[in-house]
């Protein structure tokens, strides 16, 4: 997929009201593949943290017999981090306001993950 293709995949996520930014992260090493973030959000930090948290969560879910994760949502006082892993292992990540429509963001993340493959 081209850089433009990645950007288009992220566009649909960042168009949702309350989404501060979205990015594609390489799940194995936490490097940024593509990003569309509001000013003030450090892409490299988000990528590294999302990948690390995703990997730890995966281990816990595997141990619990729940199987591979297909969506996760970290709820915080002042916002949220939502992640959908694509089949290739790339993570589609969104940083949002606290009152965002989580269902809609989840849907767009899943669509983006399918596009990314």
């Amino acid at each position: 997929m081209t850089g433009t293709g990645f950007e288009r995949a992220l566009d649909s996520v960042t168009r949702v009201r309350g989404v501060r930014g979205a990015m594609l992260v390489a799940g194995d090493d936490g490097l940024v593949v593509a990003e569309q973030l509001m000013e003030g959000i450090k892409g490299t930090a988000v990528a590294a943290l999302a990948a690390s948290l995703s990997s730890r969560l995966k281990r816990a879910m595997d141990a619990g017999g729940v199987g591979p994760g297909i969506f996760w949502h970290l709820q915080c006082e002042q916002g949220a981090l939502l992640v959908v892993p694509a089949a290739s292992g790339v993570l589609v990540v969104a940083v949002t306001d606290p009152d965002v429509n989580v269902g809609l963001v989840r849907l767009e993340l899943k669509r983006a993950a399918e596009t990314v493959g």
Binding site: M61, V66, H73, C76, G79
Partner: protein, 272 residues
């Protein structure tokens, strides 16, 4: 397939959003077709998650299947949506009666009678309850067989946290188990393995929230291929994990987790 079932199924097929699933599910339940009733109720519930009658129907089916813990949750949810729902009040009274908590059973039946004074089922149940009390004194013995009691005790302890046998675990900050236990879908105990990883998840969640300027983290929900999990922090030094299969939507799991978190907090305060 009977004509009634056929007709209702056809109507539902024509209009999947129709509330006819309530009649169809109940009819199948009454005919003992539990699996079919379960499917109909669950599909209806997915389409109408805020409909009290849908939760009530699902609870009755779960109760028939002796899945009392979930039936309790469903009737509890019904009452959250419709606090005067007679079916849910009767259902919870039945479950309390089964575990020998006659006071709670009576309280729910009296609430049901207030809403539906002409309901003969409620009057009969109250009469049976009074007869039970009369025959066994002020502290009657539990009236349920061992299996279901065990399940319900778990459900009740879930509210108070000690002794939950599956689906719920409370850990300290170092990943040591304080209460509850987890089993994988095959029924094997996995508490220790999961606990070992959860402390790392919690630390990473806190670090992520802090570095992103999102404040403290309140919860972490995850959807897996084989189930849903929700992680919360009852206190700064503890972690609570609730696991359910995929029939429990993530949003509902968060509601269950909130209740469990409160219970865990109270439990931890009592231990202090």
């Amino acid at each position: 397939m009977s004509d009634d079932v056929k007709a209702l199924s056809a109507e539902l097929a024509r209009d999947p959003q129709s509330l006819v699933f309530l009649r169809l599910g109940e009819l199948l339940r009454q005919r003992g077709q539990r699996d079919a009733a379960h499917r109909v109720a669950l599909t209806g519930l997915e389409r109408h998650p805020h409909l009290a009658d849908a939760h009530d129907l699902y609870a009755r089916i779960l109760s028939d299947k002796q899945d009392y813990e979930r039936a309790f949750d469903e009737w509890d949810m019904t009452l959250r949506i419709a606090p005067a729902h007679v079916g849910a009040l009767k259902g919870l009274a039945f479950l309390y009666f089964k575990v020998g908590d006659l006071s709670q059973a009576e309280a729910h039946l009296r609430a049901a009678r207030q809403v539906a004074p002409d309901d003969e089922g409620v009057a009969q149940a109250l009469a049976s309850l009074e007869a039970s009390r009369g025959s066994s004194g002020a502290h009657p013995a539990p009236v349920v067989p061992a299996g279901p009691t065990e399940h319900l005790e778990e459900s009740r302890v879930f509210a108070g946290l000690e002794g939950a046998e599956e689906g719920l675990v409370l850990l300290d900050g170092a990943g040591r188990v304080l209460g509850g236990a987890l089993r994988n879908p095959a029924g094997e105990p996995v508490t220790d393995a999961v606990a070992a990883y959860l402390a790392g998840v919690s630390q990473e969640a806190a670090r992520t929230a802090r570095l992103l300027g999102l404040g403290n983290w309140d919860g972490l929900s995850a959807e897996g291929v084989g189930g849903h999990v929700h992680l919360a922090q009852p206190t700064a030094e503890s972690l609570l994990l609730v696991v359910r299969d995929r029939s429990v939507p993530l949003g509902r799991l968060a509601v269950l987790a909130d209740r469990a978190t409160e219970a865990a907090r109270r439990w931890l305060e009592r231990q202090a």
